[in-house]
């Protein structure tokens, strides 16, 4: 009995060593860790992939740009792996920059996102951005800037709440999810390489069922952010009203939804806490408040009209009608209900 037990233990230990697959483990310093993946399509035929790989040295401020071309993305990734000196570990990719010609091709863009989502190596929490420029330029732009860290592109999107409320981040899984949503559309940030800074934020492309329908400016997007994510409240936003500039220190929104026959109604109250930074002479607090309320409301109705025309519910108003409209009817939210939506949007600006 005892001998038997010993044999069993031996078999368990042997299988641990044989089954674990530990012979192909590579230490972190034997791996190449790309941080940014740029994807473009040249002449509508071949995929061109660009990787930004930081070179580890004392201050790690340099990175190199590696490109590869091929018929499919998977083949290019494999080819890059073959040609690389170390094992390439795609699991640290944090940002995927897609060139606009590829992004605007609905079929291919969908396929691309599906591939990125299905790929086991590329993390599905990597952020997606679109650029109008050549991807290679955007990535190589990092090395031209003095004293910029190799991970700066990723840092660009992760400044933290309050520092740049216009910028937002959209991970792959959200892009992947968006075609399956009936009541909400999402936006993907658009960037280009800057002259003095690494990137310049240009606005965002709105994705409707995996198709890019229009572009909105950073100012407008901030309002959308307030509606979509109540945790990102757009703190720290600085607004210039011509005769004064103010900083929004806090914002909160309250929505009340109702159905009037077939017409959806939302009455929405946005409360802004503001802090006046500077003003011209003779301008009262009241005037500033009124002006800010007017500007914000105008901006909102502008986007609302624009999106209602294109049947794109970027605000995610449909999300709030889930309990009022049946599931089958919600499928038609964008076409049937959203254009008819009436929003009573009121802004209340308060001094701090």
């Amino acid at each position: 009995m005892k001998k038997n037990k010993r044999y069993k233990l031996l078999i368990v230990f042997m299988s641990i060593i044989l089954l674990c697959g530990c012979w192909d483990i590579k230490d972190i310093n034997k791996r190449t860790i790309p941080l940014v993946l740029g994807i473009s399509k040249e002449d509508g035929k071949e995929y061109k992939l660009t990787l930004q790989i930081p070179i580890p040295n004392k201050d790690s401020k340099i990175s190199r740009i590696v490109t590869g071309k091929g018929e499919t993305i998977a083949s290019v990734l494999g080819q890059m792996r073959t040609n690389s000196e170390d094992a390439v570990d795609y699991s640290q990719i944090r940002l995927i920059v897609i060139q606009n010609n590829l992004a605007h091709n609905q079929q291919e863009f969908k396929g691309l996102i599906k591939f990125l989502m299905d790929s086991e190596e590329i993390p599905s929490r990597a952020l997606v951005a679109i650029t109008d420029e050549n991807v290679e330029n955007v990535l190589s732009n990092i090395n031209d800037k003095l004293g910029v860290h190799a991970s700066s592109i990723y840092d660009y999107f992760n400044k933290g709440a309050g520092w740049a409320p216009e910028i937002f981040s959209t991970p792959i899984w959200e892009v992947y999810r968006s075609p399956f949503l009936y009541t909400r559309d999402i936006a993907v940030p658009v960037v280009r390489s800057g002259k003095d800074t690494v990137l310049i934020f240009e606005g965002s492309d709105i994705l409707k069922k995996g198709k890019i329908v229009e572009r909105i400016s950073p100012d407008e997007y901030q309002l959308i952010n307030v509606f979509q994510n109540e945790n990102k409240k757009g703190k720290g936003k600085i607004e210039s009203l011509g005769f004064a500039s103010i900083m929004i220190t806090n914002s909160s929104i309250q929505n009340i939804t109702s159905m009037k026959g077939n017409q959806p109604l939302v009455s929405s109250d946005l409360n802004l806490k503001i802090h006046i930074l500077e003003r011209k002479e003779g301008i009262t607090d009241h005037m500033i408040q009124k002006e800010l309320e007017k500007i914000t409301e105008k901006r909102f109705y502008h986007i609302l009209k624009q999106t209602q025309r294109s049947h794109t519910d970027i605000f995610g108003f449909g999300q709030q009608f889930h309990h009022l409209i049946s599931y089958h009817e919600l499928k038609d939210w964008r076409n049937e209900y959203y254009p008819k939506l009436r929003v009573d949007f009121e802004v209340h600006a308060n001094m701090e």
Partner: protein
Amino acid sequence: MKNIVKEIESKFSNHDDFFIEEELVDKTAIYLIGFNTLVDLPKSKLYVQQMAASSTSLKVLLTNLSDQINVDTAQIIKSVLEGKLVIVSKDDEENAVIDPIAQNLSSSIEEPKNESPIQSSTDAFGEDININVGMIRKSLNTERLCHCSYQVGELEKRKLSMLYVKGRAPNDLIEKVNQQLNQIKSDIETIDDLNKQFGQRRLSPVSHLFATELPVQAIHSLKKNRIVLFLDNCPFALVFPHLVWDMLSSVNDRNFPFVLSFMLRLFRVIGVVATLILPALYVALVSVNPEVFKTDLALFVLKSREGIPLSAFLETIAMVVLVDLILEAIVRLPKSVGPAITMVGGVILGQAVVEAKLVSNLLVIVITAIVIASSAVIGMQNSLYIRLLKYPILILASLFGILGVFTGFIFTIIYLASLTSNDIPYLTFRIEQKGDTK
């Protein structure tokens, strides 16, 4: 000279420290028999003579000296071996076993060597079993403190004492321990020999007994329904059963306010967990699952490991073994060279290893942290076994990464949970069950 004396003399013929002294008391010759390594002969002689001066006859003298009078030869031999002084009259008719003035062979009460209590009395248990029991009796003067003594061993008869508080320690536990102690056939040389009597745990790093030098701790254990054993010539109180809580809490903690003692215990828990999983986590993160890192951290680790020829596992195991070697060596060093060697070992070796790029800076930090953390627990043997348990987790981590770390950790806990001493699980925090006061 008559039979008995001759017989004893022949029995001890190859003991040079054996003596038979003839003495005249009240005009009768008597023999004083004993070992002069155990008996202080001149002082004992003086004592006998003084007693003789106030006694009228030999018989009265012997009655005055002892209550073990006229015993048989076997008893005499046994008493001689125990360090007693035996008086035999010349005509062989009367004898007595008396407690002599003994040679001073045991150290007095000193400060603890292996534990450093804070805000507490600094008495430590010594080698003499009676003094040890006395120290407990002095501080815990209740009639419910029970004391059972045993003589165990094959070659030598060693004294063993069991202490418990009646009404606190569970009755069936006392009964079982009593049985186990009575069954001892072999010699008890070390704590581990005694440990074996409580059940088969040959391959286990966790002992059935928790050794403490501090009377305060032993008394606390007695009050907390446990049994305390004393072994002759062993300067420890052996608390039975050994529970996991012993590793984390000392009674001296409670000399501080509750919040502080809670903090101390929390830090010990952190120390245990850190010792167990930190080196394994390092290997897992660096070689198997680097995707867990955040980007900045991954780049930092990458940078600190740049150009290091050893794989993470080899590097870690080399450092961990080296450090355990150093720890073991420092214990054996004489006090005069200890600090110098420690400096060379710690500072120069650490510095050189990093500068030679043999191991990464990060690993040196991890190793330093676990060495210090492993000493946060109470009791040297606990610290040792925690240090041992990190190795299996380390190996699992090198094979399976993060998954291995956590499976290893869980299996360690499962293993510890499976340990019992006399049906009391090791992972209980206190023995709730109480005995009868009857």
